[in-house]
Amino acid sequence: MAYKHTIRNQVYSFPDLKAVLAKASPFRTGDALAGLAAESNLERIAAQCVLSELPLQAFLSEALVPYEEDEITRLIYDTHDEEAFQEISGLTVGDFRDWLLTHEVDTQKLTQISKGLTPEMVSAVSKLMRNQDLIAVAQKCEVITQFRNTIGKKGHLSVRLQPNHPTDNIKGIAASMMDGLLYGSGDAVIGINPVTDSVDIVGNQLKMMDEIRMRFEIPTQICVLCHLTTALELLNDAPVDLVFQSIGGTEKTNSSFGINLPMLQEAYEGALELNRGTVGENIMYFETGQGSALSANANWNVDQQTCEVRAYAVARHFNPLLVNSVVGFIGPEYLFDGKQITRAGLEDHFCGKLMGLPMGMDVCYTNHAEADQDDMDNLMTLLGVAGCNFIMGVPGSDDVMLNYQTTSFHDALYLRKVLNKKPAPEFEAWLLKMGIMDGSGNRISISNSHRLLNSMP
């Protein structure tokens, strides 16, 4: 079926639903690289007009990626909750945007409809929303998850402490970990990206972190962001709190990451059996990012943002503790500058939250993107207002192993202060007990005889 819209006698025609979505997307280099972007501003607005008049139902009858050839499409259709969809089933995409913004649609209502939404519906509506709409609606969502603490409550902002080291040196990692804890970071997770993804190295990193966590009774979780298969090998030999995996929105993308849905299921069940959580059972940690499908030649001519939201359908199936897009990491051929990174970050956060995910964000950029720390200040502040569950914390914003820049421990303190947000409640109590933070959220002077500093491995 062709979709058409006329502007001043010029007919704009789109062959299928995925073309409408791609052409309606706010401009980004990745869609241009894929040959999918609108050719002109008029073509873009024509596509947005078409999209606004499409019934949400349309996405239930036309699959963007063939059902027979993609297990994620099958997951999306087979788990669609008709009952949850009922209330909005008569709306067009445009009506849905307006509906989301009404005062009557509150946190509870958004939670109710969440399972009735497919990623394609969510992606579609986001393309009709301005940045402030993405913030206003996301801010109404609340997605709370638990393992050893409680993440995502309104009024709270958590931080993933990311103590990476360029040669996996265990003391170097511990030094950054101390730095972060003493700056009040680490309540989302203490999570290392290993240089070498081997059972020995990952196992040692887990043991070191777990030893410190237990000695000081830190109410948080630890994770080494290795491949899922490495974590599976380690389940019985090392303290695996969370299973991490990078995921994408098509089956082919995930094959390029060396995973599929049955493997995720196996890991999920394996880690669940360990029963290591104290207050909850959310045990998965997923990372995503716009552009991964194209980069794996696996996008089926679907725009990069829609592919991204399809990854959230995968995440949602495994009740994750944490999900974050690594929004600026992929490079300028997908997101060119601060403007594109900002838009993508707000889209990813909104779409994840609407899908019911505990969404955080790696607010970041590489040196060949046209962006700097000012752009990160803007985006993290916008995301803070939007109610983002967590951000990254890296010493001085400079990840010396991954060679990119993200947010710092200081940035998290800034954001908590200006938006009056607190750490996860259990972690906040620990910071007070350890004399790291006072009741008003300010850091206390730490002497070099502090207990944490005497625990360096």
Binding site: T29, A32, L33, P163, N164, H165, P166, N169, K171, G172, I173, A174, A175, S176, M178, D179, L182, T196, G331, P332, E333, F336, T366, N367, H368, D372, Q373, V394, P395, G396, S397, D398, V400, N403, Y404, Q405, S408, H410, L413, Y414, K417, R443, S445, I446, S447, N448, H450, L453, M456
Partner: protein, 253 residues
């Protein structure tokens, strides 16, 4: 800026931990924020990294050096017109422009090894490191090998496949400027491919990364490259199938 720390800065008591990592730990604070001195250090590093992307290959210098070693040399371009396009269109950076293809068409030789010197994302890294590395590699090569050189601009790694195909090369080594990091703005990488042909993907290549002043020395890089050349010619393959752990090899040295 005064050399002393401002008394407004609250220092961190764990400065000694900095000996374990080059991460920016124990920065101190002013309120919740990073002290200005550290902010400026960061911006300085970022300025180096940004500028590195816009450096250019020193073609006269490189041509002169390679000619003095007595090897044939071509200077060519990818389909990319300028740096902005280079950043936006990696696909163009993997293809030769028409003039360059014409240039190769007149070559009737077949080569065993083609060394490609490419700007990538940090041309200065190649200007600084390539010649000294090659001077370590060349004397150790089998004297029967037919060797040629190509200099190229606005190039991605896979441009080596297009070049290798045109010159009927058995093996290419692409020496290219890597994505600049704050602590290593001028870092060179080497990607080797046996039997290069258009459309290959990364699992067919071996990679030597991080050749820069705080990373691998050109001498260490040369050791690894020589090893990859020997192995690739012996087994007539490259990439993951070679199953080589370069890190272990270096640790042994």
């Amino acid at each position: 800026m005064s050399g002393k720390d401002s008394s407004l800065v609250k220092k961190d008591a764990w400065d000694n931990l900095s000996s374990f990592t080059n991460a920016r730990i124990a920065l101190g604070s002013v309120g919740n924020s990073i002290p200005l001195k550290e902010v400026l250090q960061f911006k300085l590093a970022h300025a180096h990294a940004k500028d590195a992307i816009y450096t250019e290959l020193d073609i006269p210098f490189l041509e002169k050096e390679i000619q003095s070693l007595g090897f044939p040399i071509w200077t060519v371009k990818s389909k990319v017109q300028n740096r902005e396009e280079y950043l936006k269109r990696p696909d163009f950076g993997r293809l030769l422009n028409t003039t360059s293809e014409e240039l190769f068409r007149n070559s009737t030789n077949e080569f065993d090894i083609i060394f490609v010197l490419a700007d990538g994302l940090s041309a200065e890294a190649v200007n600084t490191n390539a010649i000294s590395l090659l001077k370590e590699v060349l004397p150790q090569l089998d004297s029967n090998y037919n060797v040629g050189f190509v200099l190229t601009t606005h190039a991605r790694v896979a441009l080596g496949d297009a070049i290798g195909t045109q010159l009927k090369a058995k093996f290419t080594a692409v020496l290219i400027g890597e994505r600049p990091g704050l602590s290593s703005p001028e870092s060179m990488g080497i990607y080797t491919t046996y039997a290069p042909t258009k459309g290959l993907t990364d699992e067919r290549r071996n990679c030597i990364s991080n050749i820069h002043k705080n990373g691998l020395t050109p001498k260490q890089g040369a050791l690894l490259l020589n090893y990859l050349i020997q192995q690739s010619f012996a087994k007539q393959i490259s990439g993951v199938a070679l199953k080589i752990n370069l890190k272990e090899l270096l640790d042994k040295e």
